[in-house]
């Protein structure tokens, strides 16, 4: 345990922690998006999927607690690294130049914290029913999604969160490969393209679901 804590406290240990937890969270949001696409197939399909997930309570709770721990470690480590990075440059440049970095890479803290806020809202909305509780109905997921995304205000929040998540994943996926030591003349450019495509697929798939309701297609 002491060894693990020491590793985590080091600069590279912190980065590797971000990469590993980031990879797991990426796999989760990918599965989450693919699972939810079943919404487009109609009430029977998505409701059966929801019932299937709820039919294995032991597995569901292991997954939930596991995700919560991974998410907490990712956030906690990210905040520590960001705090150290701010402290490493107490006085900035009068002329601030950027050579290679893009908005996605420079805004990881911002897009990460907005994603955190969104996840809290999203859980309060669909899982716990604390907000918009009139729409809450865990027995009919299809109806719940349809009612919620029919409100333009809710739909806009969901779409905006996905746009920010796109930028977070766009830098996150290519970045975790480098942090885990994968850098190769042939594969690194492929990872960069893959990073863009996967981020776009995840955000795009989720936005598709939201807009299909808002625009009255489903």
């Amino acid at each position: 345990m002491k060894w693990l804590l020491e590793f985590w406290r080091s600069s590279i240990g912190g980065k590797v922690t971000m990469a590993v937890t980031g990879l797991l969270l990426f796999l989760f949001v990918l599965m989450h998006m693919l699972g939810n696409l079943q919404f487009l197939a109609g009430p029977a399909t998505i409701n059966a999927y929801a019932e299937f997930l709820h039919s294995k309570p032991a597995l569901l709770w292991v997954a939930r607690i596991g995700l919560l721990v991974i998410f907490a470690v990712h956030v906690r480590t990210g905040i520590r690294l960001a705090t150290q990075n701010k402290a490493a440059r107490p006085v900035g440049y009068a002329v601030d130049a950027t050579l290679r970095a893009d908005w996605a890479s420079k805004s990881m803290l911002l897009t990460g914290l907005t994603t955190l806020a969104f996840v809290v809202y999203h859980l309060a909305h669909f899982t716990l029913g604390w907000v918009h509780s009139r729409d809450h109905n865990s027995n009919n997921v299809h109806a719940m999604m349809k009612h919620s995304f029919g409100h333009p205000g809710i739909a806009i929040v969901y779409v905006a969160a996905q746009v920010l998540l796109f930028f977070h994943l766009r830098h996150g996926i290519r970045s975790l490969a480098q942090t885990l030591g994968l850098n190769h003349g042939r594969y690194t450019p492929m990872v960069a393209i893959l990073s863009l495509l996967l981020a776009a697929a995840i955000a795009g798939g989720n936005i598709l679901i939201t807009l299909s309701v808002l625009l009255g297609i489903v």
Partner: protein, 265 residues
């Protein structure tokens, strides 16, 4: 050509404990600058002018002026070593600027590199990182035959890519987080591809990262500003290698209590 300079002037040295900035940007006008002058020669002209006017000349670091010693280094319009790729400030020429240009010159900005005076920073943090293990422990004596240990050409090239590092600190200066991982990665990569360097690879990776963390450098966020600013164009591949080497070394670390030897992790 004419140039207007905004130069950081600071008389009192900053320290890691006291990073308060008591300096400011001061404007200077130079009317007769040759486009063939190097950036440092242009600063020499400014200093001559200042000396004649009885003012304190601008302090800046320099030594070889041929791009190989790593002494010089200032942020020119926010870019370490200025606008030319793969070029140190001493090898940058005034023809790279427009006539009438307004140029802002600042020291490296990092907590690990306190400003000593004007444009001069204390880079001894790099020396302490190197002392932590960026070398090979060998017995002195007669050199052995050059071909006694064969090294594949591809490995020698990878090691040499990293060995071109001149330790100027531009990577730290360019990094959005003032991280030194390109420098430390270069030191690790320099040795790990060679059979002589591989002997101490585990302790080197652990000790260099520990030394780097102690100096208060930031953490890499893979934005690759360092690679873009490096006058020797050292690739960020060395950072991936550093990450790999450090994880490998930590996993392989024996659970023994390090009695008084210190420095390890």
């Amino acid at each position: 050509m004419k140039v207007t300079l905004n130069i950081w002037r600071q008389s009192k040295a900053s320290t890691k404990a006291d990073f308060r900035q008591d300096g400011k940007l001061v404007r200077y006008q130079l009317d007769h600058v040759s486009p063939d002058m190097s950036f440092l020669e242009m600063l020499d002209v400014l200093n001559e002018q200042l000396t004649q006017q009885g003012e304190e000349p601008v302090a800046f670091d320099h030594d070889c002026r041929e791009g190989i010693c790593g002494s010089c280094g200032v942020a020119i319009d926010g870019v370490p070593h200025g606008p030319e790729r793969g070029t140190t400030a001493c090898q940058l020429h005034m023809r790279s600027f427009q006539d009438g240009a307004v140029i802002t010159v600042e020291p490296w900005r990092a907590a690990a590199f306190p400003v000593l005076k004007d444009l001069v920073v204390d880079r001894s943090a790099f020396d302490r990182v190197v002392q932590a293990g960026a070398f090979i422990s060998v017995n002195t004596g007669a050199p052995q035959d050059a071909n006694a240990i064969p090294v594949p050409k591809a490995d020698a090239d990878r090691a040499f890519d990293a060995a071109t590092c001149i330790g100027c600190g531009a990577c730290v200066a360019a990094c959005k987080n003032a991280s030194a991982m390109l420098f430390v990665g270069a030191k690790v990569s320099h040795f790990v591809h060679l059979p002589q360097g591989r002997v101490e690879r585990d302790q080197r990776a652990r000790n260099l990262v520990a030394a780097m963390d102690r100096e208060g450098f930031g953490n890499c966020t893979n934005q690759y500003e360092c690679e873009a600013a490096c006058p020797k164009e050292i690739p960020v591949r060395v950072i991936a290698e550093l990450n790999r080497e450090f994880v490998r070394a930590k996993v392989r670390e024996e659970p023994v209590v390090d009695k008084g030897r210190g420095g390890d992790g």
